[in-house]
Symmetry: C2
Subunit: 211 residues, 2 copies
DNA sequence: CGTCTATTTGAATGTACTCAAAAGCGGTGG
DNA sequence: CCACCGCTTTTGAGTACATTCAAATAGACG
């Protein structure tokens, strides 16, 4: 019990420090006054996930979005044959949610869970909207986030439509070297839209032909 | 010359009437006062496209977004083998742009052209941002647009990752019956990410097995 | 009507998947 | 510290979904 409290304390302390990361992310897009920062932070709730722990499960309403302070989480979809398809990985500095469930506040089809022990700052949809009403800069911030996310989704869709698996893999490795370092290969395969077996063969092929 | 003027006049008149469609779209998401509506409309520029005419070409900076009043336009990408991949169709009531080029104001890889004679209302990025500054409701409107668009892109990505071509076709037909009616089959194929030949075979198969 | 483009059809091919089994690797408990 | 268990990765043979290429047919438009 004592240990548990100590853990929580240190986490709250940590969250305080780490929320610098969140504020830095905000400031990349909008300039906030000190009191505005405090106001925004007041809406953010720290949350901890252990590896393999769900943040959101299929069928749930995505009440909260998550900003990752540390660790790594993934947003994915399970098709009717039981295969996982990963929409997004999120490490330090990334947001994650089941966007359509979050926006429309209806049960969604996506799962979000932790690939590593992770620390999050979460924000509920109602708080987000309130924040947007109160503070136009935050409306702007979320508009920019959506725009950026949309641009990268478009790009990914184009790659999926126009490139074979091998080149999608090469692009992924080049674009997200940090992800490559810490993700197991089968997770990368689930992101690229191929089987782990096939990714293994692609890598084998690349290794042999580069000799 | 007289005819040309007459045509332009009638278009301006038409644009005046048709912009009702645009205002209705705005009001679906935010509530505007009369003077705000006028202010917004002042930023929108009518533009006409003939069938096959470009609105945007690969390599250009997407200075303007387009809201479609009538007709049909498509946003697409040409891969290095010369194949077209369609990101989005836009008919009456839809927006279209090369979003990443528009947002970052850098040369883009997408083309936009008209599949039918079309009437548009266009909005420049600078005007959009000015509008957002002046009028928080418009910031909200564009945030909502981005959110919606993002949600549907996510959905499409999931379908592409998890479903075979036949089912993607069935879903498309169910989701966008209006598009099915007016689009040539090869355009639908370019949207679904398959060859026109294969789409033809899918349709043949569906026709024979439903007997 | 003739031309140009879109659609259909068929045979051969290729990319990626399935299934099965082996090898590698990491964590956990004895 | 080593042995074992579960999970990830590799490897191989057979298969399936989708493409390529070619040619015939159908439709649209001037």
């Amino acid at each position: 019990m004592l240990r548990l409290l100590a853990e929580n304390d240190s986490f709250n302390l940590l969250a305080g420090i780490m929320s610098e990361l969140f504020l830095a992310n905000l400031e990349k897009h909008v300039h906030l006054e000190e009191d505005e920062k405090k106001q925004v932070l007041a809406f953010m709730h720290p949350k901890r996930l252990r590896k393999r722990q769900y943040f959101l499960q299929e069928g749930d309403v995505s009440t909260h979005s998550a900003f990752v302070l540390s660790g790594c989480i993934r947003t994915y979809f399970i098709d009717r044959d039981g295969f996982e398809h990963i929409l997004q990985f999120a490490i330090e500095g990334w947001w994650a949610s089941d966007l359509s469930s979050f926006v429309y506040q209806q049960p969604g089809r996506l799962n979000i869970d932790a690939l590593e022990d992770s620390e999050l700052l979460t924000l509920s949809r109602t708080d987000q909207l309130e924040l947007c009403e109160k503070c136009p800069k935050m409306e702007k911030y979320f508009r920019i986030l959506s725009e950026n996310s949309l641009a990268s989704h478009q790009n990914r869709l184009l790659e999926n439509l126009s490139l074979p698996a091998k080149e999608r893999y090469i692009n992924f490795a080049r674009k997200y070297p940090l992800f490559m370092q810490r993700l197991p290969q089968n997770q990368v395969a689930a992101y690229l839209g191929i089987t782990p077996e096939f990714l293994s063969k692609i890598r084998h092929q690349m290794a042999t032909e580069s000799k």
